[in-house]
């Protein structure tokens, strides 16, 4: 490999950290508390087969808020988004392909 030396260290990082105001955190906290209240409320009602959908739906919204604001995903570049979303794709794969087993299994 042809190389030459360089007198100074190379720095890739020039981006400034994004600063989020306190109001955003307070709104996020209030939203999480409200969603927790809704979780408790829906637990007292029977939605039949949609019980799990409702519970996981609310949980997903809460997780998204935490990831976007507390964990600053909203202000990150595409690469970070790719690494954040790829596990969701894998989760869909795990659930989807396992479903191809569970839903089509013949009774003995």
């Amino acid at each position: 490999m042809a190389t030459k030396t360089h007198s100074e260290e190379h720095h890739h990082d020039h981006e400034e950290p994004h600063i989020v105001g306190n109001s955003v955190y307070i709104i996020v906290w209030v939203a999480l508390m409200i969603l927790t209240g809704i979780t408790v409320w829906v637990a007292r009602h029977n939605f039949g087969v949609f019980n799990i959908v409702v519970a996981l739906g609310i949980a997903s919204i809460k997780a998204s808020i935490v990831a976007l604001f507390f964990m600053h995903l909203k202000y990150e570049d595409k690469l970070t988004w790719t690494f954040a979303l790829y596990p969701l794709f894998l989760l869909a794969l795990l659930i989807g392909l396992t479903a191809s087993d569970v839903f089509y299994r013949l009774s003995p």
Binding site: K4, T5, H10, L90, V102, Y104, L106
Partner: protein, 537 residues
């Protein structure tokens, strides 16, 4: 010239500082790499001895040295230590740590303290494994339910140890991804990276994204044992096959965590000893990522006879065949690199060539097992044992031994005895094939795996396999002694004994603590041999 003299005066090899604490508290990626190397090599030798005991038990029908329960404990210990303590952390943690910063032109990894933390977690996991040996598990390395829920042996402690090892693996993967993204030297574009770095990157993605699944699965198993929750117990509404789905969702990608670094290793060795640029650099790089992606789609091919649905089995059989494409690209390109090359049969090259030959057998027998109807006959027979060992020893271990011989001068600044190394290679190659090829035949004849006994008609093939394992053991012993003797008696290694153009060979042997006196500026990819043939022209 005057500067050069100053640089030589300031040169302090990374190995110079003495004392056990200078190692255990070091954040130098090279020292951490060497500590992993010692740890995984020790695990390999211990688990290897347990396999020799198993083969001795099987030298004749009936009980010879251990009873059935002790045999179950032996194969569980062998599988667990080989998989979780040697081959999964194996090449990625030891060679990856040592080589990635040197290859990308960095002074260290992105998070050196986290790196040391990963190693401590590895040690903690290994300690817990040792404690669990007071009441050793007998479940096999796969911990299948319902047996793993019911057995009276210490499954909880062992799985806790593996859970902690998983955390070590995740942190190493995270560290390497950030290092490769952020710390590349000026001019080191993605298409100028060593293929070993590409392989480590693909491996790191798998470590980061697949390992949490096995961690959670083992936690569920522990909760089921401790609290009787019933995730996997049909009597409580659970599903034992769910355990297998979860387990293999990690453990099949884990197979590629094991093999991808070895692919990277021989992609470095072959161009150097063929004196030719690697054939199809970009195809080699992207096929590594393709293997990593496809590895997530094929897990249930381990479960065709478990009672899963036929629809799922058909889908997974089809998806399994996809892996053959990127893998075949790699085998073709290695062979094409050799074509008309000026080939030197250095011991490292012999191991690299062995990998191509043996991994091809391992890979093709995988196609048999991925085919639904054939798998029904071959599942859980010695055919699977032979296939797995052709992939894992024929692939990963050959790559590991090749890497040890190739980078030994750089790591330790010493040379080993090349003639002895070649004798050891010959014994290992012959011993391996004599051990495992008869097992393909045993499997097709119906010999099931994980049995301590067998009918007399299988005697001669089992005997042959045991004799092979002893030859293999002698080969590994000679290789180990040769490499250890090199540390004390070996000649001093030059900076670049093979005239490699790759960046890690442009620093002194052994490298100084800071790797590079000045961070280099990279102007080409690392396979410029013979006629100039860059990928970017």
């Amino acid at each position: 010239m005057a500067n050069h003299t100053i640089a030589e005066t300031l040169y302090v090899p990374y190995l110079d500082e003495k004392g056990i604490l200078s190692w255990l508290l070091s954040t130098d990626h090279k020292r951490i790499g060497i500590m992993y190397l010692i740890s995984i090599s020790t695990s390999f030798l211990i688990a290897g001895i347990s396999s020799l005991l198993m083969r001795l038990e099987l030298i004749a029908p009936g009980k010879t040295i251990v009873d059935a329960h002790q045999y179950n404990v032996l194969f569980t210990f062998h599988g667990t230590v080989m998989v979780f303590f040697f081959i999964v952390p194996g090449l990625a943690a030891s060679l990856g740590n040592f080589l990635i910063p040197l290859m990308i032109g960095a002074r260290d990894v992105a998070f050196p303290k986290l790196n040391l933390g990963s190693y401590w977690l590895y040690l903690l996991g290994a300690t817990i494994l040792l404690i669990s040996l007071l009441k050793p598990a007998d479940t096999g390395w796969t911990f299948y339910t319902p047996y793993s829920i019911k057995t009276g042996t210490d499954v909880i402690l062992l799985t806790t140890g593996i859970f902690i090892l998983g955390m070590s693996s995740i942190l190493t993967g995270l560290n390497f991804i950030v290092t490769i993204h952020k710390l590349r030297a000026p001019g080191m574009t993605w298409h100028r990276l060593n293929l070993f770095v590409w392989a480590s990157y693909a491996t790191a993605i798998l470590q980061l994204l697949a390992t949490p699944v096995v961690g959670i699965t083992l936690l569920l198993l522990i909760m089921e044992r401790v609290f009787g929750i019933g995730f996997f117990d049909p009597a409580k509404g659970g599903d034992p096959i769910l355990f297998q789905n979860f387990f293999w969702f990690y453990s099949h990608p884990a197979v590629y965590i094991m093999i991808l670094p070895a692919f990277g290793v021989i992609s470095e060795i072959i161009p150097v000893f063929s004196r030719k640029p690697i054939f199809g650099y970009k195809a080699m790089a992207y096929s590594l990522l393709a293997i990593a992606l496809i590895s997530f789609l094929v897990w249930a091919h381990h479960m065709f006879v478990s009672g899963m649905s036929e629809v799922a089995a058909t889908i997974f059989s089809f998806l399994t065949m996809l892996v053959a494409i990127p893998t075949a690209i790699k085998v073709f390109n290695w062979t094409a690199t050799l074509y008309k090359g000026s080939i030197q049969l250095h011991s490292a090259m012999l191991y690299a060539l062995s990998l191509i030959f043996l991994f091809t057998i391992g890979g093709l027998t995988g196609v048999f097992l991925g085919s639904l109807a054939v798998d029904v006959h071959l599942h859980d027979t010695y055919f699977v044992v032979a296939h797995m060992h052709y992939v894992m020893i024929g692939g990963t271990v050959m790559g590991f031994f090749g890497a040890l011989h190739f980078w030994y001068p750089k790591m330790f600044g010493k040379m080993f005895n090349e003639k002895v190394a070649k004798v050891a290679w010959a014994l290992i190659f012959i011993g391996f094939n004599v051990t495992f090829f008869p097992q393909f035949i045993l499997g097709t004849l119906g010999m099931p795996r994980r049995y301590a006994d067998y009918p007399p008609e299988f005697h001669s093939l089992h005997e042959l396999s045991t004799i092979g394992s002893l030859i293999l053991g002698i080969g590994v012993f000679i290789m180990t002694v040769n490499l250890l003797r090199g540390l004390t008696n070996g000649e001093k290694a030059p900076e670049n004994p093979y005239n490699s153009v790759s960046l890690e060979w442009q620093v002194p042997s052994p490298p100084p603590h800071e790797n590079f006196e000045k961070i280099p500026v990279v102007t080409d990819y690392p396979y410029v041999y013979g006629k100039k043939n860059t990928q970017e022209g």
